[in-house]
């Protein structure tokens, strides 16, 4: 897995209690963190709370991030996703979440309130593959990831057997992972 050199520097400086490193990491990653939290929660106020949780946690326990295991961006986004889904599950009942995910199904990415759309420069292959995935694979992945639904809940929302949902998610995710790996080894 390639290592982003700034990640290692941020890690070292965060471990050393360097406030400037926290600010730099915030300035670099907060738009993506806020964007993901907002996409999941649909509330800027709640999303900003998640952003605070994530960066406070990064500062408080920097040793939990291991640059050998992956980029800081994916570590922060995984934590963001986890915190946002926890909040979503706490705020909305299972039925409401399934209903919301079902209604969102097929609408594609939602606009953000600032219209400040800035996409990542890396991972283009993943985005291409995601865009090309058949709807039957893309939809359950997005419902699980952005809607905070379990496989069983996705199955209910799509009126499909749970095993079918699991198979389709797996097929789509494997295609994206293969594309990312191919991109990483490409010269």
């Amino acid at each position: 897995m390639p290592e982003d050199p700034p990640d290692r520097q941020w890690h070292r400086r965060l471990l050393g209690g360097d406030e400037a490193a926290l600010r730099e990491a915030f300035q670099h990653f907060s738009p993506a963190v806020l964007g993901l939290a907002y996409r999941i929660l649909g509330s800027l106020t709640m999303a900003e709370d998640v952003v605070q949780d994530v960066f406070v946690r990064l500062w408080e326990q920097p040793e939990r991030f291991d640059p050998q295991r992956g980029p800081l961006r994916s570590y922060l986004l995984a934590m963001t996703h986890s915190r946002a889904v926890e909040r979503l599950r706490a705020e909305a009942s299972q039925l409401r979440r399934i209903d919301a995910a079902g209604r969102q199904h097929g609408r594609g990415p939602q606009p953000d309130p600032t219209d400040a759309l800035v996409m990542q420069e890396t991972g283009a292959a993943v985005r291409r593959v995601l865009a090309d995935l058949p709807e039957e694979q893309r939809a359950p992945i997005e419902m699980a990831y952005f809607g905070g639904l379990s496989y069983r809940e996705v199955a209910v929302a799509l009126a499909e057997p749970e095993g079918t949902v699991r198979y389709r998610i797996r097929a789509g995710m494997q295609k994206m992972r293969a594309a990312l790996q191919a991109e990483e080894v490409a010269p």
């Binding site: 900003e48 600032t114 219209d115 994206m176």
Partner: protein, 222 residues
């Protein structure tokens, strides 16, 4: 299709956070990480944090664990941000004052018409300020074809943004009383800021190049 969960299924469900069952216990953490990285590349619209969020987050973080490295850089950054906010406020006030004077010499439709008066600003508008303007109550926005976007605040502070490298553009503010054309000017950092004295009269915004309209967007509440 088998019902058995293999390591791939376990890792994918863990990465998606969809593992509310016991099937993913003992998942291969390295595989989970690789799928998390995949998910980190799924396109999500980034959102600029509101002004002050960084300071709030840092304050909360430092309350948990004090910094042990001198933060001269951070203090300098804070001073710069504070100075920038003051500069922006002064600039806005100056622009509004200037608008009253300059408005008299700006094309504003026929005399006595309700077409608003306006002018451009040379200020570079930071992304945070655009986000704040877009979020502000009463702000209206429009998409200007593929060239960019525009946001017009309730008090008349406007900005055309997300402009790429382009030749100088004029901005047309379309109202019932006519079109007020200002400029041309080259985008500064992808933005052109402007001020208009009666924003409520502006129905749509046009971009013009060499006098010809190249994009137009009807303003709608954000």
């Amino acid at each position: 299709m088998s019902d058995a969960w293999d390591p791939e299924d376990q890792a994918i469900a863990r990465a998606l956070g969809a593992d509310q069952n016991a099937e993913t216990e003992g998942a291969d953490e390295q595989l989970v990480d690789s799928y998390r990285e995949v998910l980190s590349h799924i396109p999500v619209a980034e959102v600029a944090p509101s002004t002050g969020l960084e300071d709030r987050v840092v304050a909360a973080a430092l309350a948990r664990r004090p910094a042990s490295v001198p933060t001269l850089g951070a203090a300098r950054d804070r001073r710069r941000r504070r100075a920038r906010r003051i500069q922006m406020a002064v600039l806005a006030a100056t622009i509004v004052a200037a608008a009253i004077v300059i408005g008299a010499i700006v094309h504003a439709g026929t005399a006595g018409s309700p077409a608003p008066k306006a002018h451009m600003s040379l200020a570079t508008v930071h992304r945070d300020d655009i986000a704040a303007l877009v979020r502000a109550p009463g702000t209206r926005t429009a998409v200007l074809g593929t060239l960019g976007r525009v946001a017009l605040g309730r008090i008349g502070d406007g900005v055309v943004y997300q402009l790429g490298r382009t030749q100088p553009l004029s901005i047309g503010l379309v109202s019932d009383g006519g079109t007020t054309v200002i400029g041309p000017a080259s985008p500064n950092g992808g933005t052109i800021a402007f001020v208009v004295d009666h924003p409520e009269r502006v129905k749509a915004v046009e971009l013009l190049r060499n006098g010809a309209s190249v994009a137009r967007g009807e303003l709608t509440p954000g």
